[in-house]
């Protein structure tokens, strides 16, 4: 943006003292340093997730199959549409934030209030969506994941329309069943009878939904990383919303206008954009890939 940072200055003046070589205020620079350290935390979490995936020898759950529900759409197969909607909400709230910062640079108090309020609304919609997604993830599907007597792990296939059980798919090798091979007894009537007997006699072998110890989608790490990464990100969004509300109140009171600049909006804006930035990476590495 126009301002001090774009002014031409020779190196001797810039680095000779009495002048910030970065041409930013103390607060803004510290916000950047905080964001770098926070980015290291999220980077570490995503790399840890990737490392666990590299070590895993079974089939890692695919985001398109785990997250294919949409509110009020029942069992319709809409892969990642809701997550894409959440991504879009966060991008839009990032845009309203940057428009608020821009209005601040013109000392347009009304503009800042309008855009900041919309940003807060976007933040609440995102948080609400995350609550819905978490509850769906925890609740799980109708038939869940089954551990067989030979130690192999199976995913249940069922008709999304009629909810009828159709068969098993091997997702982790056991002594008898191996990934990618076809077994006649795992389909049709025989499989239905097998599922029923497990359900009646050994219900503990069926896992539905997710908790911190196990989940029906894949290895326990999958659920743990889901809760930790999206939870940590959601916590960031939550604190961002709180900070935005506080700054909005200050703007409404006229504190910024009296101060002569809206840099506080810019600094909270940096934090808010960072939250969007993290989600872009979570979206790719947790949901898409």
């Amino acid at each position: 943006m126009a301002g001090h940072a774009t002014k031409q200055m020779d190196a001797a003046t810039l680095w000779g003292g009495n002048e910030s070589p970065f041409s930013v205020s103390y607060g803004k620079m510290m916000m950047w340093f905080f964001l770098v350290s926070d980015a290291l935390t999220f980077g570490g979490l995503l790399v840890a997730y990737g490392t666990i995936r590299y070590t895993y020898t079974g089939i890692w759950p695919s985001g398109e199959e785990v997250f294919h529900h949409f509110p009020l759409a029942g069992e319709a197969h809409l892969p990642l549409l809701y997550v894409a909607f959440m991504t879009f909400i966060l991008i839009v709230s990032s845009v309203t934030m940057v428009l608020g910062v821009e209005a601040g640079h013109r000392m347009d108090k009304k503009g800042v209030i309008k855009w900041l309020a919309l940003t807060i609304v976007g933040g609440f919609i995102f948080l609400g969506s995350q609550v819905w997604e978490w509850s769906h993830f925890i609740h799980g599907s109708e038939y869940g994941k089954i551990t067989m007597a030979d130690g192999s792990v199976m995913k249940a296939h069922y008709d999304h329309g009629t909810h009828e059980f159709k068969g098993f798919e091997v997702v982790q090798d056991g002594s008898k069943y191996k990934i990618g091979e076809e077994y006649e007894e795992l389909h049709g009537d025989h499989a239905v009878a097998l599922y029923k007997s497990i359900e009646e006699n050994e219900p503990y072998r069926i896992v539905k939904g997710a908790n911190l110890y196990e989940n029906e989608y894949g290895p326990s790490h999958y659920g743990q990383f889901f809760f930790f990464i999206t939870g940590f990100h959601g916590f960031h969004v939550f604190s961002g919303v709180i900070i935005n509300i506080l700054v909005l109140l200050m703007v409404i009171k006229g504190t910024m206008h009296k101060r002569g600049h809206y840099e506080m909006v810019e600094k909270t804006g940096l934090y808010w954009h960072f939250v969007d930035l993290v989600w872009v990476f979570v979206f790719t590495f947790f949901y898409l890939v």
Partner: protein, 124 residues
């Protein structure tokens, strides 16, 4: 109260209505771009799902690379335009970006090589 020991750089961060129009136009262009990229990502995922292609297939590998490139493009636009790091002094820009990128490349290299090695042992 006036203080002469504090240099308020942010006081200079003002711009006129005309500059504002240009900046807003840029913001909307970037918005459209980010939305299109997200739609393309989801669309590719719907058309060529991992389980249909096979997790180890070359086609899925190229889609993964495609996703990563798009993600970096999105991240670049967010950092440089929305957080306007692109408009800050070069020294600040590189102090923020270069150490982080070097460290992350190092961390990914060391963790993923280790992860693959463990996978090879467990699989055998």
């Amino acid at each position: 109260m006036e203080r002469d020991d504090v240099i308020e750089y942010s006081l200079d961060a003002h711009h006129s209505d005309e500059d504002g129009k240009k900046i807003r136009k840029k913001i909307w262009i970037v918005t459209a771009l980010l939305s299109i990229i997200t739609i393309v990502e989801v669309g590719v995922g719907v058309l060529w799902p991992r389980n249909a292609l096979g997790a180890d297939s070359g086609a899925w590998l190229s889609i993964k690379l495609f996703y990563i490139v798009l993600t970096l493009v999105k991240a670049g636009y967010i950092i440089l335009t929305f957080m306007h790091l692109g408009d800050e002094r070069k020294s600040l820009k590189y102090v923020i970006l270069v150490p982080y990128i070097i460290f992350m490349i190092y961390l990914m290299f060391i963790a993923f090589v280790e992860g693959s090695a463990i996978n090879a042992i467990w699989a055998s």
